[in-house]
């Protein structure tokens, strides 16, 4: 990764292929979410709280695979889901600098998404910002504005005692056993017990959405089984 501060002079003429840019997450089994998108994301993915390895603090994330570096939503050319999280859609753009709230927009100069054949341009021919880059700016603005609210939301879940560690213990159709640890989710009994201590209706709704999203683990397992079946078919000797 080679982050460069985005400038009209240096990057104005670049074209971007957003699908290729998303290839960055082909090997990610977790993607961090912003509080602003939890409700939408909860329909597609199982959502968990995960500990940041550097700080130990919780952040909300969507589980995309059942093993490290496995993304079952990446089909080889695109991120294939009804909802694409902001942290994937905004690629190959990042917020640079120490403080996300004060951050500047950067582009990853090494991204495969920078492609002369790409369908999206950064500037229109008249030199104005393209609709595409305006969309990116809006996403990055949401991510940075919601950064602190997201952190507080996750910490509140921990402080209220809503979380418990969820160990996934899965047996796939081909008999393979998979154990996934290090995930924390809204525990329904804790949620019921502490429900009245949650201050706002919106928070109650978001925690509910996250709790119900755990049912999407079944969908993830189906994807995994389907992928394995495809691979098995590919390896099977030709008939006849």
């Amino acid at each position: 990764m080679h982050l460069q501060q985005l400038s009209r002079a240096a990057h104005g003429s670049l074209r971007i292929d957003p699908d290729k840019a998303c290839g960055e997450v082909a090997g990610s089994h977790l993607v961090p979410l912003s509080r602003a998108e939890l409700r939408q994301a909860s329909r597609c993915f199982p959502l968990f709280f995960v500990k940041d390895l550097e700080t130990g603090q919780f952040y909300p994330a969507a589980l995309l695979g059942l093993k490290a570096r496995e993304n079952l939503y990446w089909d080889g050319t695109a991120f294939n889901a009804d909802y694409v999280p902001l942290n994937i859609r905004r690629l190959p753009f990042y917020i640079g600098g120490e403080d996300p709230a004060q951050g500047m927009i950067c582009i990853d100069g090494d991204s495969a998404g920078i492609d002369p054949q790409g369908e999206c341009r950064i500037l229109e021919e008249d030199g104005s910002d393209s609709a595409y880059i305006q969309g990116i700016q809006a996403m990055l603005a949401t991510l940075s504005q919601q950064h602190e609210a997201t952190r507080r939301f996750a910490q509140a879940a921990a402080d209220l005692g809503l979380l418990s560690e969820i160990k996934l213990d899965i047996v796939l159709d081909d008999g393979e056993k998979i154990e996934v640890a290090g995930l924390y989710g809204i525990d329904d009994r804790n949620f019921e017990q502490h429900f009245d201590r949650i201050e706002t209706f919106e928070e109650k709704m978001l925690y509910t959405a996250m709790m119900l999203s755990l049912d999407n683990v079944a969908g993830l397992v189906r994807r995994k089984n389907a992928t394995n079946a495809e691979l098995a078919a590919w390896h099977a000797p030709a008939a006849g």
Partner: protein
Amino acid sequence: MTRMIRSVCIVGGGAAGWLTAGLLAAQRSLPDGSGLSVTLIESETIGIIGVGEGTWPTMRNTLKKIGISETDFVRRCNASFKQGAKFARWRTDHDDDFYYHPLVLPEGFPTVDLAPYWNAASLEDPATPSFSDAVCFQELLCESHRAPKLITSPEFGGIANYAYHLDAHLFAELVREHCVERLGVKHILDDVNGVERTESGDIAAVVGQRTGRLEADLFVDCTGFASMLLGGALEVPFVDCRDVLFIDRALAVQVPYESDDSPIVSHTVSTGQKHGWIWDIGLKNRRGVGYVYSSSHAEGDDVEAELAAYVGPEFSKLSTREIRIRAGHRAKFWKNNCVAVGMSAGFLEPLEASALVMIELSAEYIASMLPATRAGMEVVAARYNEITQYRWDRVIEFLKLHYVLSERDDTAFWRDNRDPASIPQRLIDQLELWRYNSPSELDFSSSHEMFPAASYQYVLFGMGFKMDPVMQRHALRDPAAAQQAFERNASLKRQLIAKLPTTRDLLSKLEQYEFQKI
């Protein structure tokens, strides 16, 4: 008439007083005030001794029970993580003379006992790695200044077993604040200058200089060496154990780190000296160092010069504090309606950090077993005395074990420590048995044991003890299982050294971030 036990008065406010108050209030008091009433009266003029800067892993559970978060505790007490003890210059006094007593059990223990295999290997090849290094990954973590856990580990949970190094003054302050603000403990600042007795000999009240009479159903004596209630008012005699453990004096000094990024050592270092040994305890902001010695053996010798040589050139700028130690304990610990906890009950040299853990065990017992009535107290007190006596005896024996196997011949201190007349008979008997069978859990079958068999193995084999190889052959029947365990240990070392941060790094992170509850 049945007299109900509704109130406890704790006299003395060091770690003993406040931990007892905390455990009692957390387990016995109720939010509506209907439970046990706990009052602590402490002197404004008498300071606390503040020894016991090393804990056992039990402290994690104690803090959890009292309700203090690990992050708060570490921050407030300048605490660090302790993963055992390193004993240097105890056996031969050579530069390479050291061994570890880590807090993690030997790999596979007790299902697979690696001691006979290690014993056989080391008899064959003297260059065999030390026992603690061969059977346990924790020595490597200690030698590499690694922490026992990650910032992502839950509070009080670790990857390697651990205890703490802490500042005892700050610790007493934190527990006091928590007890008063959260647990409803009543706090009185006053000097106790009188004890009133009932006809039956119970304590009716203690009398504060300013605040007057303070009645209670149970009195806990946490007055330190003074033992004002149990030793003073109730005249329970002191059982001296200087004939076994000779240490009676400490010279303590606080040593600043050379720089902000000096490594923090995550084990207690105990280094043998001419007339005793030096403790070295790394806190976050400084080291606590002290020379504990036998004043009669050291007579005429310059003990301060020995301590200065250990600390280095900066010693001249530091101020030392001398503490007199009276090794031993009371003949009883609970008499009538008075129980002593902490140094008022007894004290031993801090070789295995037994001071704070004895407080925790005592307070825990009192909190759990406190009877509902005065009549029940006789039964509980008798049991408590039996258990506590057993614990003191085991600690004394275990401390003595560190000395009896020394080969040091440079001073009378080390030679006298090997005099059979100074060794408890039970320890002599055990050592004879261990010539043929490695320490096992069956040697320590009480539910009130202080040290597990593994601890005896670490010290015994660390001090160079060898078992009879001929009589050990039956214990070498499953070399494949042993090999697997040795390999597991080697593999754990590789994994953990790659994964764990340095103690300094983890403590720096804790300034900004907290351990999660789960």
